[in-house]
């Protein structure tokens, strides 16, 4: 259990900056997810914390220890950082039994046999794999291998657990189960967890904090719900959330003492944006599909459109609506019996609408 701090960490592969001047503080006891599309630098960041990659410049601290500093020449090898890493491929040693896999780290530390036996079986019991100890990894299912990989890390009682897309090799149902198990594991052990994923839903459901990375640059570090409701820029708004947020390009204009955005056939007032000098600049309007409601009869504030297609998804319906030249997605929670090309009216909750300035940053 320790805080992890990265200070101005840059990692270059050739001339490419995989991680670019990243400063990040991961709170003690938190479940922090590094989220981003592939190639954003999240795995590189994790491997630098683990000590498997060396930053080109910058410092990394775990608790009170500086584990890496390019400037001061500090470097603590991975085995001495007291952290555990669960690999995407699990990396179980195929020539060792489950027991030997889990006990490996203890044996490296030359603990006595009785203690190894006891600690290993305790951890195996916690993860419900105590009946598999004599098997080889090839004789296990994907979910069981996953548990062994976690047990191998847990047995060392690390102050930090690092997980690199650990659920991506599991099928959809198992993935759901493992999410809740990992979350429980976190609250039971209380250890700091750093989790890497490209799956935004996974990040939202499991983490206490999410760090979004894009092209090696940290975009935002926030609790999941803040990330969802107050994304600091267009990239995060677009990346987080399924179905995706509706983004419509438009232009700012004056509306009495504040601004409004006109985007396509839509116009939304922005009561909090009062810097009238921005009027006339380009901007992007963002509205989550669930922040729009539909009605089949004209409403005073509503924008008119036509139904493009209807996509039922069990508990909800995704309706694609053509407004002017823009195709928007709307989530409806009951069957409205809509048909294609039907005239429809959209009501936008103005306080839920987000507006991004011409740099893509959130306004107001």
């Amino acid at each position: 259990m320790a805080e992890i701090v990265l200070r101005n960490v840059t990692k270059k592969f050739g001339s490419v900056n995989a991680v670019d001047n990243l400063s990040l503080s991961i709170k003690e006891g938190s479940f922090t997810t590094l989220l981003g599309p592939s190639g954003c630098g999240k795995t590189t960041t994790l491997r630098m914390i683990a000590g498997l990659e060396h930053p080109t410049s910058g410092e990394i601290w775990i608790g009170d220890t500086c584990v890496f500093s390019a400037e001061k020449g500090h470097y603590l090898p991975p085995g001495k950082r007291n952290l555990g890493l669960v690999f995407q491929s699990y990396a179980l040693w195929p020539h060792m039994t489950v027991f030997e896999n889990i006990a490996f780290g203890l044996r490296v530390q030359k603990r006595d046999a009785g203690e190894i036996q006891k600690t290993t079986s305790d951890v195996a019991r916690t993860l419900r794999i105590d009946d598999l100890l004599d098997r080889y990894p090839s004789e296990l299912s994907g979910g069981q291998q996953q548990r062994v990989a976690i047990a191998r890390v847990l047995v060392m009682k690390p102050q930090v657990m690092l997980l690199d897309e650990p659920l991506s090799n599991l099928d959809a149902k198992l993935r759901m189960d493992m999410r809740s198990e990992l979350k429980r594991l976190h609250s039971e052990t209380g250890s700091t967890i750093v989790y890497v994923t490209h799956d935004q839903l996974e990040a939202l459901t499991m983490s206490t904090d999410v760090a979004v990375l894009h092209r090696g640059v940290l975009q935002q570090l926030a609790p999941p719900m803040d990330l969802y409701h107050r994304p600091t820029n267009v990239f995060i708004a677009d990346f987080v959330g399924n179905p995706r947020i509706n983004l419509v390009k438009g232009c700012l204009e004056k509306d009495e003492d504040h601004l409004a955005i006109r985007a396509g056939a839509l116009r939304v007032s922005l009561p909090l944006a009062t810097n009238l000098t921005l009027a006339g600049q380009e901007a992007t309007l963002g509205i989550r599909p669930e922040d729009i409601t539909l009605s089949t009869t004209p409403t005073s504030e509503g924008f008119s459109g036509t139904v493009y297609s209807v996509l039922p998804a069990g508990s909800e319906w995704y309706v694609r609506v053509m407004v002017g030249n823009d195709l928007l997605t709307v989530t409806e929670y009951e069957d409205m019996g809509l048909v294609n090309d039907q005239a429809i009216w959209l009501n936008i909750q103005p306080n839920r609408a987000k507006c991004f300035d011409n740099n893509g940053d959130l306004m107001g």
Binding site: G51, L85, Q88
Partner: protein, 600 residues
Amino acid sequence: MNPQVFFGRVRRNATPHAILSALLILCLLYLVVVPLAVMVRETFVVHPMERFQIPGTMPGDFTLSHWKKMFTGSSAVSFLYKPLLNTLIMSACMSILAILIGGLLAWLVVRTDIPCKKFISNLAIVPYIMPSWTMSLAWITLFKNPRIGGSVGLFQYLTGVTLPDWFSYGMLPIVITMAVHYFPFGFMLISSALQNVDSQLEESAELLGASRPYVLRKVVFPLVMPAVLSTVLLTFSRGLGTFGTPSFLGGPVRLYVLSTMLHANLVGQRPGIAYVVALLMILMGGLVLYMDSKLLGARKSYVTISGKSGKSGLVSLGRAMWPVTVLVMVFLVCVTFIPFGLLAIDSLTLIPGDYSLSKMTLHYWIGPPDISIGLRAGEAGILRNPEILRALGNSLRLGVLTALVCGVLGMLIGYTVVRMRGTKFAGILDQLSFMPYLMPSIAFGSALLALFAVGRGPIPSLYGTLTLLVIACSVKYLPYSSRAGVSAMMQIGPELEEAATMAGASWLKRMTRVIVPLQKSSFFSGLLLPFISAMRELSLVVLLVSPGTQLATSVTLKFTDKGWYPYTNAVMVLIVIAVLFTTWISRKLLGTDLAKGIGG
């Protein structure tokens, strides 16, 4: 940069694989590149025995006379141009013939419904496993005419017909026997190329209405053509460095190729000239490999873009099936059992040339040293002859040591190349370990001779030691092992080692607990090829052996020189048995597939 930062950086970058690769590169530089440099120097220096041929010089003086003599002197024709021409004719004809046989056989096995495919494939590899000059000894046994040693071969004994010199010795038998040794090489490479042709490519051509022969001509053949050409070139370069066959079959009619010329000049105390020949051979070998990579590099790639091999596309041989099968079987028997049988029979004949059953004897196997019977050689039979037994022992030791050194180095090179992939180190190491491949065997042997003949700094003269032979064989066969090592390491993801790093395991522990156990099976099967190659090696070691380090292969030279073929043939029978037995055992125990290794 302050010292602390500097040492921090050094410590971080001095990973085990970085240190290892630096060490390996240094070793290989010393064993591959330095010998070449030493050899170049030797061609410009007057050697002790040469100062009488080059008046007014002292040993060690600088001279251009070796090069002048080779290219412009009156002796240039017999020293260089004729052997060069002979070498080109021999290698070209031999490789083309070998590819024709191997390619045809490959096509029959992979693409037609010929029966006994497995049997054919297994038997077709045997000539390659046997020492390369087995065939030439068998040829001599069968077709010898009285020109050498007075005795006649089995053919003349049975028919009474005296064969002309051009049939018994010289270019024709050299080409034929070498082609018979090398066709399995083509067979294996072309088989795998044919197997890799996506059957969907053929099927789509057939769906468009193309006939089978048309598909063969327009689709299959162009697709395997790069592999065929590449095989021709590789076989050609093997032919350049071969010593045994041209020596046994060319010697009696004074036909010289570069390899025998190199040997004759070194034995005849003209090292300056010998090293010029060796350099030329290495240059030619390099040229061939350069051609291979440049001309074919781009085209080669599409053979490797393979799909599933189709069982559907088998050509029916129809009525031709049985005649073809019989022909193939007869051919295979002729190149495997018959040569072996001929050597075995010849080793039993008391008086050379007399094959009557009543004169069969085990004298040359177990007889006492007696100058009154048989060849009057005064040599004990090979199984009680201390010199030969020592040579056999040396061969076994050489084989085992070479296999171990190659196995370990191959694994380490595989490890470092794969771990450091994308860095300059990995590229250099990969290239260096492949370099011995392009050096004709006998020329590489002479290069090592030049390097180790005298002590250099801390490294003593190794001439006359088994160590030198182990070094030579290990470096020469390293390309096979490092290839195998790289592909074995590719199978293991880096995570398996990283997981051990995370658990705090030291590099040694990671190697012994994770990497080595995982590589165990490929390590053991990788030992086979170097062992067999070392057991049957002659061209590479012929210049490096000394009386104390005679090998089973080189000891036969002495007997062949004196015309004592029964001794030679008895030893050859032993070598062939040993090699085939090892192959068989390792196949049974480890499931080793030799065909995979040789393809490299």
